[in-house]
Subunit: 228 residues, 2 copies
Amino acid sequence: MPTHSEENYLKAIWKLHEAGIANVSTNSIAAEVKTRAASVTDMLKKLADKKLIQYQKYQGVKLTAEGRRVALSIVRKHRLWEVFLVEKLDYRWDEVHEIAEQLEHIFSENLTDRLDKFLDFPKFDPHGDPIPDKTGKLTDAASVSLSLVKAGQAVVMTGVSEHSAIFLRYLDEHGIGLGSAITIEQVIEFDQSLKIKVNNKAAITISQNAAKNILVKLSKVLQSEKKK
Amino acid sequence: MPTHSEENYLKAIWKLHEAGIANVSTNSIAAEVKTRAASVTDMLKKLADKKLIQYQKYQGVKLTAEGRRVALSIVRKHRLWEVFLVEKLDYRWDEVHEIAEQLEHIFSENLTDRLDKFLDFPKFDPHGDPIPDKTGKLTDAASVSLSLVKAGQAVVMTGVSEHSAIFLRYLDEHGIGLGSAITIEQVIEFDQSLKIKVNNKAAITISQNAAKNILVKLSKVLQSEKKK
DNA sequence: AATATTTTTTAGGCATATCTAAAATCTATT
DNA sequence: AATAGATTTTAGATATGCCTAAAAAATATT
């Protein structure tokens, strides 16, 4: 049974890998788990001993099938608890991360399954991230960054790629949330900021930096998939 | 902030104290937390340094006010989560202990309060044990009105449900106080008044009205039933 | 290709929490 | 009051997980 710490490292490696890095570096892991590179090296040796990662000195790491399984079970729990916190305990989407970081380590597969059922088998967490199923499969959001969408296009918001509370509150303040219908009125040439309409209200302007971190879907297909 | 382990020790000491031991012994703690006496001694030193217990070598331990506060917050969380597991996730009352042992360490006072509200402020956990409120107060589970006890039963007085000076003086005059051992000799059919012995002195008679306002716990039977 | 810079690893510590074995202390009995 | 037995504490290890500082290796720059 992996320790909390081991689980955190596996999750971090999974996240980084998910972000597109094939061989995850020691430093990037250190940044992700908020520790020092030396501590990461220590842990990598242990995880390699336990066959949860493939690791060769100076060459970065990859999850093994078993390591990936563990990582996904943590991600599954994290995201399910986030749904619980928001839907049942009325937390806002920018408040749930720290608590879910603790809850994700609660061990009982049966508990996870019952929670899943209690929440009516949600497919996405409050930030639009997909929740792995029991077997580790995850529905691909197939979303694209709002910053890549052309003027005139109508899209639906499906998620965020930046999860900080500050950013989430920024979105709240601008009336932007999961499922929001967004129309791009204009892409300002000078700084690539966007003039957009959210749910057909008065147009607002958001920076390119903000747009980069907003994930959207071009069609309206998502509406049926999304169960709130 | 106490560690998980410190919290477990404080909870164990609280439990043992609750069971009637004034100065809790090292061995009894070792049995409760399932570890060795030497490990307990180590931890007792640490807890004493942190002023969570009063500890003198070879003399047993007592919780300080702060230690009790911590212990009760753990007990509160444990029992609230047990209610959640049984009422929301359909667990049976004999299945919830291990999972609640993990959940009780989740830290967020706000989460605890929201959970409490979500569960509609339960007073007892699925085993009938009282749930401490935010301030650490707990309703005594075992307490029932003396007027509901059958003839022949031996009980111990635990409280009153009527706080007037007149009533309290009445109790004083009859030698009835917290901790008094009361035996019901006879329930008089005509007016439901009770013939009782207090601390094995000569039998006295009290009215049904008085009996109604005296809270007692059944001294033997209930204790064993409680830990099913 | 040689050197400078960055990244990663090693070496050596520290704190937590546990253990066994032995010593110290308390308690109960004769 | 002396001693046998039980309890508790100390001493000395072990494992986890973190740290800093220095060495080693990889990468970038000239």
